[in-house]
Amino acid sequence: MNTTEVVELGTGSETDDKMLVHARGVTKRFGGLLAVNNVDFDIPRGSIVSLIGPNGAGKTTFFNMITGYYVPTTGDISFDGHDIVSPGRRGRVKSLKPHEVTALGIGRTFQNIRLFGTMSALDNVKVGINVHLQSHWWDAILRTPGMVREERATVDECMQLLKLVDLDHRSETWARNLPYGDQRRLEIARALATRPKLLLLDEPTAGMNSSETRQMTDFIRKLRAELGLTVLLIEHDMRVVMGISDRVTVLDHGEVIAEGLPAEVRANPRVIEAYLGRGAAGES
């Protein structure tokens, strides 16, 4: 954690320091469609924050803007004292490239599993660590001692990560040949290999049964406890969201309609309306 660095940079007050992610006025427009509209969003360090909302609410779009995959139409996003999205020249928005964001310390998984199917589980994790490796292509060609040492350390670190997700016994299996739940966990291991401070999980329990879901939520808690991670979660399963989150933000039609503790959000009539329709909100 670069807490000292943030203080030295002097970008702001104490609140900035407590917040790992600081997003202001983030808007994304796809042609005529306003996918995300003027969203303010903060993620406190060390917390588990959930982003929920009906299908098409803009959750994944927001994810993709934090990770640099989409450039927002307007807005600012800073992460750990670094600007991810900032005002550029001539009124345009300047955004870091996804690999630069990853290097800063944001790891993510995907809603539809996107592993490198015909690479081994170990190699998948190794790709995640790539961004922190120092050796160059000429080191690779010459097999310099530094490169060999680095490769060995990489294997050790990746095997530890595979052990953490309980896949160390299948390190040589191709990712596509792993069972579904293992693939989900391998994706998390790969994201962890980027040495993130913030882990973005896009529906980590999708397609899982209740016992697997429980294991996954325990695992996410364990990640925070043991690795000191901050977690941002997109999730549809309300039991997961309510059970695990410190704070919940609800998006609907690209706008934040509620934000707060899980219990507060659950009781919020606008949230019920968004999920169940106007009639249901009136009844409650």
Partner: protein, 462 residues
Amino acid sequence: MSATTDTVGTGITGWLGYIGGTLAAIPSQYRTALRQRRRNTIALTILFIVVVLYPAVGHYVLADFSRRVFPLPLPDDTVSTFMTIFAIMAIGLNIVAGFAGLLDLGYVAFYAIGAYCAAFLASPHFGALGINLVFLGHVGPGAAGIHVPFWLIMIVAIIVVATFGALLGAPTLRLRGDYLAIVTLGFGEIVPLFFRNLSSVTFSLTLGPIVISLANVNLTGGVQGINPIDPPYIPILGWVFDARSGPMAVYLGLFLLAIAILVARNLEHSRIGRAWGAIREDETAAEMMGVNTLRTKLLAFALGASFAGVAGSFQASYLGASTSDFFDFSISILVLIMVILGGIGNIWGAVLGAFALTYLDKSLLPYIGQRIGDVAPSLPNPAEYNFLIYGVILVLMMRFRPQGFLPSRQREAELTVHGLQDAEREMGVEVETDNVDITPHGQSETGSGARDAETTDEARDL
């Protein structure tokens, strides 16, 4: 961990690694890796024997024998040398197309640039312009034109060609798939045309005190090309071998090929190789995992091109001439067919494909043509229909063995229908035949199966 980092070396190191690996206790999960390693070692040993003995004695000893036993021609020195040249190119293209998954249809351009590097740096050509430079060469002092030793040419060719690879890649690698193929195709057409037509250049450029002025200068020799080019002289222990003819040329080619194989293999098993694999599998996911995709693809392009630079400059030195019509578009396709036939993504496959097709192209088909000509002169000569024959071979190959002679592990899995189940069986995992994509463990509860199918579907949005 040694098994996973793959320490298969060539020759002696390969043997030592093999013996060391066998002596060590073998955890069961590395057994597959070891089996692969043993297979590689055996292949390497056979290859080593063939490589050392064949060029020296094979042609003279076996030729007579083969003429009596089976009616096929053996590759002579020239064909053997061309085998190594094309194998080097196939390895280079395999880096671009096989490792990184970028379809390059203009690979011949880099081959041509490499050849003209040798032509410019080791021929009397520029003597006509009054540029005479003999540098460390084996050509007598005072000779007309530029004469630079072979190894230096090779290094220059690598640097120049890699630079051109990067120059072509920088604007085009933002394109994906078909579009990249089209642009590279254009590049492959343009470069040989440049060499063909830069035979009377009039050009002037003033950069402050430096004035470059050319008036009707023959830069590339036009259609005639440039010749003679100095042969590749190799100094060994005070002796200087002329590697233009005989087994020496084959040995030089094999030496360059061995280096090419080693370099490609080392690149494959490094962070760059893994990044290439990730881009080939899923470019977007690779980018999100911190792979600088543009830089990595550029590196694939430049490094892959440099192999063609080696092949081109060796070829020009070997033949002693460089003409533009040698660098036809069909060479790009030929090398691509070599890579595909051999098994795209596999270095040894590329070598095998190059050997087989070069043999077919330069030895077997002309021989058959000659035989047919002897018997029935009115029948068509198959050597003139070589691309028709390659086409048929390619179609048959795609039908019966799409993964190539020596498939890479990845490509085999992608292309064989039952590859997945075989792989699973090899891993000792039970396969549920009705649900091949995923083998659910304790996932019997309602709805999960349907959801699985949906989520593992190839949805391209994030």
